[in-house]
Point group: C2
Chain length 289, copies 2
């Protein structure tokens, strides 16, 4: 007897992970449990099981992916350039430690080798343990995983050695800063084979317009054909941009070959969406013009 009733109702811990997009706007996920939390040589890595978006991977406090909406990012980063190219055999992925980009690349049966260069082996380890659906490609015989710096790798790679290059980086602060510079993109162009295609994530048009502007301007200088396109990734605050450069095929012509033969089931990319993603809202057009 007393102030505390004998059978007090239980109250669960109400845990929220919050990402501030700027000082005035936040997205928050209710967290069921923290599956992993650790500091690697390069960054803080957190993996949460969320209430509404499945597992959520967070690097240095920024959402990298949620199981629920990663398709909007990975499928659009990968299949637009991969289907723009007539027959990509050798593909280079810079970053993308969670494995989602590699998984999408390996859906294409024409791929003979996919080389992934990721600086932080612990991100890959966490993904292998907790996100096996994303990390499935790491054990594919066509995949070569290099733990190292993407800039050095590309700098040392022979001329004309890849059909498609995909840059799946974090934001241009911290370890990924150099991946948004002209010097790096220019090395990428050198490493592309004839008729090669490169696509990179180029930030949120809403919260990082300067990133998109800069990448689009550099690609316009470096590649005979270039364009930016959008996808919708709620966990990234809505619209997300990618920028593509091509030494030959034009992405505006749509996919170069039928989707049949692709392994597994897509949730986001379609041949119609390939072309449609290139049509930008007016305010984004103005950024990249």
């Amino acid at each position: 007897m007393g102030l505390i009733p004998a059978a007090a109702p239980k109250r669960a811990t109400d845990l929220w992970y919050t990402e501030p997009f700027d000082k005035g706007w936040r997205i928050a996920f209710r967290i069921r449990q923290t599956l992993y939390s650790g500091e690697s040589e390069y960054q803080q890595i957190d993996l949460f099981e969320s209430e509404s978006f499945g597992k959520v991977l967070v690097l240095d406090g920024m959402t990298m992916l949620t199981e629920r909406d990663e398709c909007g990012y990975h499928e659009m980063l990968v299949h637009l350039p991969m289907f723009t190219h007539a027959k990509p055999k050798r593909v280079l992925i810079i970053g993308g430690g969670d494995g989602g980009t590699l998984r999408e690349v390996l859906r294409h049966p024409c791929v003979e080798e996919a080389v992934q260069v990721e600086i932080d082996s612990e991100v890959m380890e966490v993904s292998r343990r907790f996100l096996p659906e994303l990390a499935s490609g790491f054990s594919d015989p066509r995949a070569t995983v290099v733990v190292g710096d993407g800039i050095s790798y590309v700098g040392n790679a022979p001329d004309g050695s890849f059909d498609v290059i995909l840059v799946d980086s974090t934001d241009p602060i911290g370890p990924a800063e150099g991946l948004f510079k002209k010097e790096f993109y220019s090395q990428c162009r050198r490493v592309l084979r004839e008729k090669g295609v490169i696509a990179v994530q180029s930030g949120s048009p809403l919260f990082q317009p300067e990133v998109l502007r800069q990448v689009a301007a550099i690609f316009k200088e470096l590649f005979p054909i270039s364009c930016s396109y959008l996808s919708s990734v709620p966990a990234y605050g809505g619209p997300w941009s990618f920028t593509l450069g091509s030494l030959g095929p034009d992405p505006a012509h749509g996919p170069s070959r039928p989707l049949e033969g692709l392994k597994g089931t897509l949730r986001y990319y379609t041949p119609s969406l390939h072309k449609a993603a290139l049509a930008l809202p007016r305010y984004v057009e103005e950024m990249v013009e």
Copy 2:
């Protein structure tokens, strides 16, 4: 002297408005000040000045618009059907108390009369006072504002009296529930002129897939041509859906006439985006198939 220093550093009130999209996901806006807060006959109305998104209008705890991204909603709800129609002269708007939809409709010089039926006059009053950029159309001589129930208005309207109908409602709970039912849409069809076009907001494909599914299915039954399309509205959690029904012109053919002549400057809609918005991500295609 004591525990409180004589010149304690000032600390501002840190105020956040939060919308829960489901029990596990939230979007939050930092609020500089509350400009208006009141209860009308129909709903709670709040208007905030936010840190990052300009003014934010909230009805019954749900974000209706922010100045920063309302273009993605209003321009796509309005211009896609308005440019699908060859020459819309009489336009009916159901809901849309903030005035944004009316403003977009009146950009079209071919419009002779726009009738807006809004149940809650206080929303219009708040918009007139605090969102003059959105409410500008209320004083246009071509605009007729009716304070009343949209369902009754349409039920009593003569056959074939409007070229375009736009339903700019709140979510299908509370006052707007009946605006998502077959009976209402069927009355709308009756009220459309030959070759008329209707477009309605049909919810978030992510958080209200059942709304989109239902509206798309009803439109398929009622209209010879129907389709759903998407825009990107960060304050609504990312992708937002609209559904269009047509008695004649096909939205897939793109705008029926050039944009020149449209009053003012668009921030979102473009002729390319008109067609592109109809291409849906695979997971949304599956909802409306």
